[in-house]
Symmetry: C2
Subunit: 255 residues, 2 copies
DNA sequence: TCCATGGTCGAACGCTGTTCGTTGACGAAC
DNA sequence: GTTCGTCAACGAACAGCGTTCGACCATGGA
């Protein structure tokens, strides 16, 4: 009693329907990374990722809680690519190697560092990396409380540098566009009223040149030297951890 | 020849039409800050800001280039609230005061620090603040190139801390929710397999407690001590600025 | 008095993350 | 071998976003 021909408007396209591969969490993360590498973080929309899999955005939600969930998974894939160097015992060397390895992994995936702002990644691979960093800090004699504080301190720095680097690459395209922009910025700085901005005017050229690895290394060096001093302060049993703490008379806001 | 009565569907509501005040750039920025303080950065949409002025989003575009333009203006309003303390000559004290003043201004406006990620603010008030920081760094003996690098280094740190603080306040509401979350995180850390995460497991409790001003001060102290060492290295004429530069054998990415 | 200028503003475009309800494929039970 | 229940796939829709378009009209100068 039901051998009516199927009306055209409810005809199923069996070709696409049969060709569907069942989705999986890993496949979705794979596709997300493909999109990320091709178009950056902003291009990594649910629809775009689904398109990469030949389906619609709604299909992803059977495997992924929401976009944040997906982003976290993507992040941990990136951290999985950090090649953790063999510890040599020279903790300064070991830390710098870890820092470069982390920065490299982040920069290998466009502006992925952008999503790390204010986020403490807790994926397995991120924790593995963090554990190694903590190990280095403990080996250099830093007490555990300060290790907990030093972690975000250095991690935020590495992330910020990686993001900066990706911004130069993406907004200016090539090295030349970047140089042009900074030259214009330098000219602007130099044209400011010297009585209001005495330092910026004088430093106009210096502020807008130099960067890359040399700058990254500078920051690492500053952080390491500071942390080393903290470790020494505790080694000698002195409690002089906070040299500047007497300067805190009026820290409050009053604006 | 045109005294037809106005059809009701194109009738102008003179009440609202007459009551309109002509917009201005400053009024829009004012409204944006009102929205920011009430609902945070994510709530600061063009429509919502326009609503605050009793109009539609399209009206804003006669005065503002785009949303980025508006955000930049809001940012510089915030930087205008930084009360720059009188320099005392003790550069360590002066810098810590500047850092606290900046953090206070940022934290006074919800999660505004969020939009500073990867941005170098170039508004008049931001430049004024930067100029003072540069002045302190130069007074402590840092060569200009390193001053240019130290600026973003400390500015990113202050921004990150301010954003962290605003996240705690917004996602957890009160102090109690925050404590609960970190306690759960600590329990999770403690439950990790110790052979894979030896340091995190041991430090589980330490990693998830302590923060606030004490942590902020720690970071400032680390940065200042590191910068001080850099300044001294140049004072003595030594070129030993990069202690760890021999560790750069294989910095490249290979993933 | 007329006209040109330019701010106002409703509607629309294309995009976002997410939800709903229908559909159909597949494995288990009878 | 048939039936049935479960669940993934998926088109459509919702509410929101930044931005643009074009009609509207109050105002200022000729």
């Amino acid at each position: 009693m039901d051998d009516m021909p199927v009306p055209p408007w409810r005809e199923r396209k069996m070709s696409t329907w049969a060709a569907r591969r069942p989705l999986s969490y890993d496949q979705i993360v794979d596709a997300a990374i493909v999109v990320l590498d091709a178009e950056g973080v902003d291009g990594m929309s649910m629809r775009r990722v689904a398109q990469e899999l030949g389906t619609g955005a709604a299909s992803l939600y059977a495997h992924v809680q929401n976009k944040d969930d997906l982003v976290d998974a993507v992040l941990d894939r990136v951290f999985a690519e950090v090649v953790i160097p063999e510890p040599t015992g020279d903790w300064r060397h070991d830390f710098i190697q870890l820092a470069y390895a982390t920065r490299s992994a982040l920069q290998a995936h466009r502006d992925i560092a952008k999503v790390l702002w204010g986020k403490v990644p807790t994926g397995a691979n991120a924790l593995r990396l963090a554990d190694h960093v903590y190990g280095v800090f403990r080996k250099m004699g830093l007490p555990d409380q300060l290790v907990g504080w030093a972690g975000p301190l250095v991690f935020d720095y590495i992330t910020a540098d990686a993001y900066d680097g990706s911004l130069y690459a993406s907004t200016f395209g090539d090295e030349k566009g970047s140089a042009k922009y900074f030259e214009a910025l330098g000219t602007y700085f130099a044209s400011l009223p010297p009585e209001r901005f005495p330092n910026i005017v004088v430093m106009a050229k210096t502020l807008t040149t130099g960067g890359g690895d040399e700058r990254f290394e500078f920051g690492l060096d500053v952080l390491l030297t500071g942390l080393e001093a903290k470790a020494r302060a505790f080694d000698t049993g002195s409690a002089g951890a906070s040299v500047g703490s007497e300067a805190l008379g009026d820290r409050g806001r009053d604006a």
